[in-house]
Amino acid sequence: MVVGTGTAIRRKSAVVAHENRAGWLFAAPAALGLALFTLWPMMASLYYSFTNLTISGKASFVGLANYRNMFSGNDLYFYHSLGVTARYVLYSVPLKIAYSFLLAMLLNQSVRGKSVFRTIFYLPTIVPSVAISMIWMWLLNPDLGLVNEILRSFNLPTSKWIYAKDTVIQSLAFMSMWTTGTITVVFLAGLQDIPRHLYEATSLDGGNAWSKFRHVTVPLMTPTIFFNLCTTLIGSFQVFSEAYIMTGGGPDNASLFYVFYLYREAFTYSRMGSASAIAWVLFIIIMAVTALVFKTSDRWVFYEGGR
């Protein structure tokens, strides 16, 4: 009997070992990918940021010189691109969140053709960024573009949009509202998860549409808003293609976004070391901003199950 249990345990541990091996084998692509395409480059990038690596591959250790160069203001574009990006984030994130929340609210009403509208709202999100850029360059063309033409027909003042220094950031932020399909779908899923009986209870207490929105929808949606806020923030800090294609960072560097500045440093001027330092500063900024949002979250994010 004792021998019997022993064999059973041995057989059991053989099964466990077998499963362990199989687990690693099945997860091998992901684990290797994580090591090769995330962990290694992350460490390498940190190391490069302390060197003067160029595209030809020659590098020597320069200590904190790259960082000092950025923060001392020697590099004219570091603070400038940071400011440009911050302004873009401040305009585009609230616009995107508010607009997609409104769309999701509309889709959550009992109306006909919901799935058609949902498809329509999602459609722009699948358009390639180069094509998005082309379309909006044409729409925002000051002389021949549709947007100014519509404004003119209503006798409203026109704008130079992306072609003027003081409107380019706002124009790109406005344009970013066009591709909010994913955020809208996430919001809609959140809205559909709100239990109906909560609305009914508010009705019974004599609450109107506004108090339902204010006391049921908004509190129960805060976790979804929080999620969308984080992903949109992270995405907006990395805006690149639109500016690269539409404005080339101009006019007069007015849309030289941070990642564009990094790209230019790396692939135009071939300063890989300095570009790595720029990338790490971006990483730290993104982590800090996300941490800040997380920190404030216990004041405004409401979790149904409590914490």
Binding site: G23, L25, M42, L106, F117
Partner: protein, 279 residues
């Protein structure tokens, strides 16, 4: 009576806003199509013409003859094929390990994977570029395709894992008792049951790869290897005043993603609904 009136006006407001949103979403796409079918003279006419008459299909043949877009389509198709197959195969294999198998280190690897989604691409971009160049793979499609064969991205693995977890464990446990191997369970039980999710992942991979701009921009230097996105960008540099041709080229670049979106839409929504069940 007043209540009904109020309800009616509420509905009118909702429909008006829905139509406004639909207008904002569709007009730019309509304007793209409309401009792609016009002559230069028609396009510059004010007030603007809304319907091209007669539609000039020759813009498309013209755009395709001045820049070898046909070739760029083939190049892109090749990359997309490599990325989609790699993503579907390796993300489903890995998701199986995370959802079903017990192995040492699973928690740590999974946490790292999820955390990696927060990492800006800018951080890994430079070492990867330097690494691929050192290995002699710059100006090839290898740097664009290879990562897809190593898990296909944390997001896809996470999505598939969520799907696998909705499938009753008893199914694979009883198969295991019957002597099925892990590979058989994965291929015969989980894969067929999660077909909609695999299609969703495939569509995501298709769109990500077809729409990718920065990757090809960094790695591809000779214009014969360009993708559609890069070709479009080059086209813009050469013909930046000829809006009708630029719109034709752009419309041709948008078409494949729209077709795939509409073909896959049923699965797309089915897939999203399935995640909904999990809650």
């Amino acid at each position: 009576m007043i209540n009904r009136l109020r309800k009616r006006s509420w509905l009118v407001a909702v429909y008006a806003l829905l139509l406004g949103g639909a207008f904002f979403s569709l007009i730019p796409l309509y304007w793209l199509l409309r401009s792609s079918l016009m002559s230069m003279a028609q396009i510059f006419q004010l007030p603007p013409i809304w319907i091209p008459n007669p539609p000039r299909w020759s813009n498309f043949t013209k755009a395709f003859s001045v820049v070898p877009f046909g070739r760029y389509y083939l190049n892109t198709a090749l990359i997309v094929l490599g990325v989609v197959s790699g993503t579907v195969v390796t993300s489903s294999l890995s998701a199986y390990a995370f959802a079903r198998l017990r192995w040492k280190g699973r928690g740590v690897v999974f946490a790292c994977l999820i955390a990696s989604m927060m990492l800006p691409f800018a951080v890994t971009m430079i070492p990867l570029f330097v690494g691929w160049s050192k290995l002699g793979f710059s100006n090839t499609y290898v740097p664009l395709i290879a990562p897809a064969w190593f898990g296909g991205g944390a997001y896809n693995i996470f999505l598939l894992r969520q799907f696998y977890m909705t499938i009753p464990r008893e199914l694979d446990e009883s198969a295991f008792v019957d002597g099925a191997s892990y590979l058989t369970i994965y291929a015969r039980i989980l894969l067929p049951l999660t077909r909609p999710a695999l299609i969703v992942v495939g569509i995501f991979a298709f769109m990500g790869s077809w729409n990718d701009f920065l990757g090809p921009l960094i790695y591809l230097s000779s214009s014969s290897k360009y993708t559609v996105s890069l070709g479009l960008r080059m086209f813009q540099g050469m013909y930046n005043a000829e809006w009708h041709l630029m719109m034709a080229a752009s419309a041709a670049a948008v078409l494949p993603v729209i077709v795939v979106f509409f073909i896959g839409q049923r699965y797309f929504i089915e897939g999203i609904a399935l995640t909904g069940i999990k809650g």
